[in-house]
C-alpha cells in the first residue's frame, strides 16, 4: 500500500509542525475568560458553543411545535394564557392563522438548520475531528471560530425576526415564492421574510466556513498511521456531510439572494403574470419553479447533511457498546459514499406535481429509489453488528438502537413517496410530515442524543445522569412513535399538511381523537426534553465525575487524551495509530486501542 505510506509521511510532517506551534501556544500565551470561553479558537469549546446554542434553539423550536399542536389538537378550545403572552397573535386565546403559520415556519427552519445542522454537525464535527484523527486543532482555528460567530449572527437575526410587528416568515420552511416574494401575499411575507433570508445567508456562510475546515482537517491533519481507512466511521460520515454542504449550500445562497432581489429590487427571477390583492404586477418571464429547483438542490442533500453525522455516531456507538467491530466497515463507507452521490441526484422528487416533465420525473423516481439500496445496506450492517455481541445498554446505545428503528420506519415510507405514482396522491399530506419527522427529525435527534450521552464525559469530564437518560430514551421513543406513526393514516386519508383546522372539510374531519392524543403526547415528550436539558446543565457542574480516561472501553483516540484535555488535546506527543478503530473482541481481548501496535501473533483479519 504505497498510497498509504504516502499519506502517513505527509501527516507526520504536519504533526511535527503542530506540536511545535502548540507548545508555544500553551506555554506562553495567557488565556483570559474571553479567549477561553467566548472568542475561543479551541475546537472543543467551539463544539460546546454550537451545542448550547443548538439546545436553546431546540427549546424554542420545540415550544413552537407544542403551541401549534394545541391548535391542531383542540381547535375548538380557547387558551386565554396564550393571549396573555402573545397578544394579537392569539386573540381571544385562539391561535390566529398568521401565528400558526409563523410557528410552523420557524419551527421547521430552526430545527432543520439551527439544531440538526449547526447543532449536530457543528458540535460533533468540532469536538470529534481533531480528537479522533489525532490533531491539535482544526486546520484553521480562526475560521472555525468565525463559523460559530456567523451562526451566532444568523441566530440573532432569526430571533429578532420573531419580534417584528408583522411577525416572522410564515410561508413554510421551504419559503416558496411568489408567496415569499410578495409583500402583498401576507404578513409573513413582509419584513420577517427579509430577515429570514438574511439570517439564512449568514447561516450558509457559517456552514461553508465550518465545512471547508472539516474537510481540510480530515484530509490533511491525520496523525501518523491514521490512514483514511483506519478512521472511525464518525469521521467518514462527517467528511461526506461537509462535502455535501460545501457543494450544495452555495446553491441555496444564490436562490436566497435572487429572492431578496425579487423582493426588494424589482427583478423577476421567480415572478411572472401575477395579480395579487387587486394589483397587477409588472413582472413577466420569471419562473416560480426555478426557486424550487434551487431550494431542493440544497434541500435534499440537506436532509442527508442532517442524517449522516447521526449515522456515523450510531455506527461508532453500536460497535463500542456491542463490544464487537462494526460489521462491514468498507460497505459502511461505500454506502455513505453512494448516499452522498445520490443525494445530489434526487432533488426533484419533491417536485413531482409541479408540472415537471414526466419523462424527467421518471429518472428521479429511479434515482430516488436507488438510494434505498445503500440505506438498506447500512441497516443490515447495524443489525449484524448487534448480532452475537455482548451489548451494554448505556443511554447512548439505546438511542443508537432507537435511531436504527426509526430509520427503518421512515426509510420505508420514503419508498411510497419516492414513487411518483404514489406521490401524486400523498404529496403535501400528513404522510410526508410523518415520513420526514421519523426518518430525519426524530432519528437524527436520536443520533444527536446518542452522541451527547456518549461524548459528554469527554466534553465536561462528568457523566450525565443515566437514570434520567433511560427515562429520557423510553419516553421519547414511545412518544415519537405515538405521535408520528398514526399520522401516516391521516395522510392516507388525504389530510393536507399545514391545515390548522379540519372542521370545514368533509373528507378530513374525522381525526379529532387522534389529534388530541398526538397533542397530549407531544406535550409530554417536550417536557421530557426539558428534563434532558436540565440533566445536561446540572451534570456539567454536578454530574458524576469521570475517573478513568476511557470510560466506555473505546478504541478511538479521543479517549487517549486526559480526562479534561486542554487546548492542544494531548499534553505530550500526538499518539501514533497502528490499526483501525474497531478491534473489539479480537483474539479474546475486550478491546485493542488504535494506538497499540499489531502484535506478532495477532489474527490477520482486517
Amino acid at each position: 500500500m504505497s498510497n498509504e505510506a504516502n499519506i502517513h509521511g505527509h501527516a507526520e510532517v504536519i504533526t511535527h509542525h503542530e506540536v511545535h506551534h502548540d507548545e508555544h501556544h500553551v506555554h506562553h500565551h495567557k488565556e483570559t475568560f474571553i479567549t477561553k470561553y467566548i472568542f475561543s479558537q479551541d475546537h472543543k469549546t467551539i463544539g460546546k458553543q454550537f451545542l448550547i446554542t443548538g439546545i436553546i434553539w431546540a427549546i424554542i423550536g420545540g415550544l413552537f411545535s407544542v403551541l401549534f399542536r394545541l391548535q391542531l389538537g383542540f381547535p375548538e378550545q380557547t387558551f386565554p394564557i396564550l393571549e396573555t403572552f402573545f397578544g394579537k397573535w392569539a386573540k381571544g386565546g385562539v391561535i390566529q392563522p398568521e401565528f400558526y403559520y409563523a410557528l410552523v415556519t420557524i419551527h421547521g427552519t430552526v430545527l432543520v438548520f439551527f439544531v440538526l445542522t449547526a447543532g449536530l454537525s457543528g458540535t460533533f464535527a468540532n469536538l470529534l475531528i481533531p480528537l479522533q484523527i489525532g490533531a491539535r486543532d482544526m486546520a484553521s482555528p480562526f475560521l472555525n471560530m468565525l463559523s460559530y460567530w456567523f451562526f451566532f449572527i444568523a441566530s440573532v437575526i432569526m430571533f429578532a425576526s420573531l419580534f417584528v410587528h408583522t411577525g416572522p416568515a410564515s410561508g413554510g420552511w421551504t419559503v416558496y415564492p411568489p408567496l415569499s416574494a410578495l409583500h402583498q401575499a401576507g404578513d409573513g411575507s413582509k419584513i420577517g421574510m427579509d430577515l429570514w433570508l438574511v439570517s439564512m445567508a449568514m447561516f450558509i456562510v457559517s456552514s461553508l466556513l465550518g465545512g471547508l475546515n472539516y474537510i481540510a482537517t480530515i484530509l490533511n491533519m491525520r496523525t501518523k498511521g491514521m490512514s483514511m481507512t483506519r478512521m472511525p466511521l464518525t469521521m467518514w460520515a462527517i467528511l461526506f456531510t461537509a462535502i455535501l454542504g460545501v457543494l450544495s449550500f452555495p446553491v441555496l445562497l444564490s436562490g436566497a439572494i435572487l429572492l431578496l432581489f425579487d423582493r426588494n429590487l424589482g427583478t423577476s427571477f421567480y415572478l411572472s403574470d401575477i395579480y395579487i390583492a387587486g394589483q397587477i404586477l409588472p413582472n413577466e418571464g420569471g419562473s416560480a419553479i426555478l426557486f424550487q429547483h434551487l431550494f431542493w438542490f440544497l434541500g435534499h442533500p440537506e436532509v442527508y447533511i442532517i442524517l449522516l453525522p447521526a449515522m456515523g455516531m450510531v455506527s461508532e456507538i453500536l460497535s463500542v457498546n456491542s463490544r464487537k467491530p462494526i460489521f462491514g466497515y468498507m460497505a459502511m463507507v461505500g454506502s455513505l459514499f453512494a448516499i452522498a452521490i445520490l443525494a445530489f441526484l434526487v432533488w426533484a422528487h419533491h417536485m413531482f406535481v409541479t408540472g415537471l416533465n414526466p419523462f424527467l420525473g421518471a429518472f428521479f423516481v429511479l434515482l430516488t429509489l436507488l438510494i434505498a439500496v445503500p440505506s438498506a445496506i447500512k441497516v443490515f450492517n447495524w443489525i449484524t453488528t448487534l448480532w452475537r455481541g455482548n451489548i451494554r445498554f448505556t443511554p447512548a446505545t439505546l438511542f443508537a438502537i432507537g435511531f436504527v428503528s426509526l430509520f427503518i420506519s421512515g426509510g420505508l415510507t420514503g419508498l411510497f413517496l419516492g414513487n411518483s405514482t404514489i406521490d401524486i396522491h400523498l404529496h403535501d399530506t400528513k404522510f410526508v410530515v410523518a415520513h420526514f419527522h421519523i426518518v430525519m427529525g426524530v432519528a437524527s435527534m436520536f443520533g444527536m442524543f446518542a452522541g451527547i450521552y456518549h461524548w459528554f464525559p469527554k466534553m465536561f469530564g462528568r457523566f450525565l445522569n443515566h437514570t434520567l437518560g433511560y427515562i429520557h430514551f423510553w419516553v421519547t421513543i414511545i412518544g415519537a412513535y405515538l405521535i408520528f406513526w398514526p399520522m401516516h393514516y391521516e395522510g392516507l386519508a388525504g389530510v393536507p399538511r399545514r391545515y390548522l383546522d379540519l372542521r370545514d372539510w368533509h373528507a378530513f374531519n374525522k381525526f379529532d381523537d387522534l389529534n388530541k392524543m398526538i397533542t397530549v403526547v407531544s406535550i409530554i415528550v417536550f417536557a421530557m426534553q426539558l428534563m434532558f436539558v436540565f440533566n445536561f446543565f446540572y451534570s456539567i457542574f454536578k454530574g458524576r465525575k469521570v475517573r478513568t480516561s476511557n470510560p466506555w472501553g473505546s478504541n478511538t483516540l479521543e479517549w487517549t487524551t486526559p480526562i479534561n484535555p486542554g487546548h492542544g488535546n494531548w499534553p505530550g506527543e500526538i499518539p501514533e495509530v497502528h490499526r483501525w478503530a474497531y478491534d473489539y473482541g479480537k483474539d479474546g481481548r475486550e478491546f485493542i486501542p488504535q494506538t497499540e501496535p499489531v502484535g506478532p501473533n495477532e489474527t490477520k483479519e482486517h
Binding site: G389, F416, T421, H506
Partner: protein, 350 residues
Amino acid sequence: MTTTFIILILLLGFLITFQIAKASEYVSVMRGEEKSRKQNNRINAFLLLTFLVLGLIGVYYCNERLGGKILQFGSSASNHGIDVDNMMYITLVITAIVFFITQIALFWFAYKYQESDKRKAYYYPHNNKLEVIWTAIPAIVLTVMVGFGLYYWFRITGEAPKDAMVVEVTGSQFKWEFRYPGKDKVLGKKFYKAIDEGANNPLGQLWDDPANHDDIYVTGEDMHLVVNKPVKLVINAKDVIHDVGLSHFRLKMDAVPGTPTTMWFTPIKTTAQMKKENNDPDFVYELSCDQMCGQGHFKMRGTIVVESQEEFDLWMAKQKPKYYLAFPDKDPNAPKTDTTTTKIAAIMPQ
C-alpha cells in the same frame, strides 16, 4: 386555570423524576457501580423486548382504529386513482415485510445479545458474501417497484384522450375559479393584465378572442364533471402557488402563476354513487389546496359534482357566459334556449 394546573402537574412530575434519578445514582454508588450497571442492562434489555412486542401490538391496534378512516385501496373514484391504489398496495406489502423482519431482528438481537458474563462478543468484521446478497435483493425488489411505478406514472401523465372535456381551474388567495370552454370547446385566450374584477373580468379574458364569448365562468359553487368522461384540467394561479388536490381521485397538481399545468383523469363514480357506497348522504368531492399559499390556505376549499351527461347538460344550459355580464348589451336577453346561443354565436365575431 386548567393551563396552570397542567403546568403545575408537569412541574411536579419533573421534580419527582429528578429526585428519583438522583437517588438512584447514590444507590448505585453505594451498591457498587458495576453491579447496578448490570442490573440496568438487564432492565433495558427486557424493555427493548417489551417495546418490540407492545409496538407490534400497537401497529395492529392502530390499524384497527384508523384503518377504516383512510381512503380505502381500490375505492378510488377515478381511473388513475386505481393505478395509484395498486401501486400503493404493492409498496405496502413489500415494505411491511421488510419492516417486520428488520424491526424484529433489531430488537430481538438487542435483547438476546445483552451483556452477559458467560458470553464473549464474536469478532465478525465483515463478510462480503452477505453484503452482496443484501445489496442484490433490495436492488431487485426496488427495480420491480420502479417498473410498476413508471408504468403507472406514464399512464397517468400521458396525453389526455382527444374527446376529453376541458375545465380550467384558477387558484388565488383563497378561492377557486372554474371556466368551461362552452360550445366551441375552446377556452378563449386570457392575459393577466386584462384582469378587472370591477368589469366582470376576474380571469383576464381577452374579449377580442371570439373563443371567449361562450366561455362559462363559475366560482363559489361546485365544479361539474361528467361520469366516465375524461376531463382535462388546465390549471392556473393568479398570485402564489396553489395546488389542486383531489384526494378521492388520488390526484394532485400545482397551480403555478405564469406557468399553466394540466392533469387529466376520468371520474368513474358519480357523487350519488359515492354517497351510497360510503353510506354517507353528505358525501361531496372536495378540492383542497395542497400547497401552502398564505393564511387562508387551510380554508381554500372547492367542491365537485360528478354526474351523468344529462344532468351536466341541464346544469350547463342554465349558465350564462361571462361575456354577457361584462357586456350586457351584447346579451340577446333571452339566454335560455339553444337557438339563442347559436344566434349569439352568429352575432359575436364582428
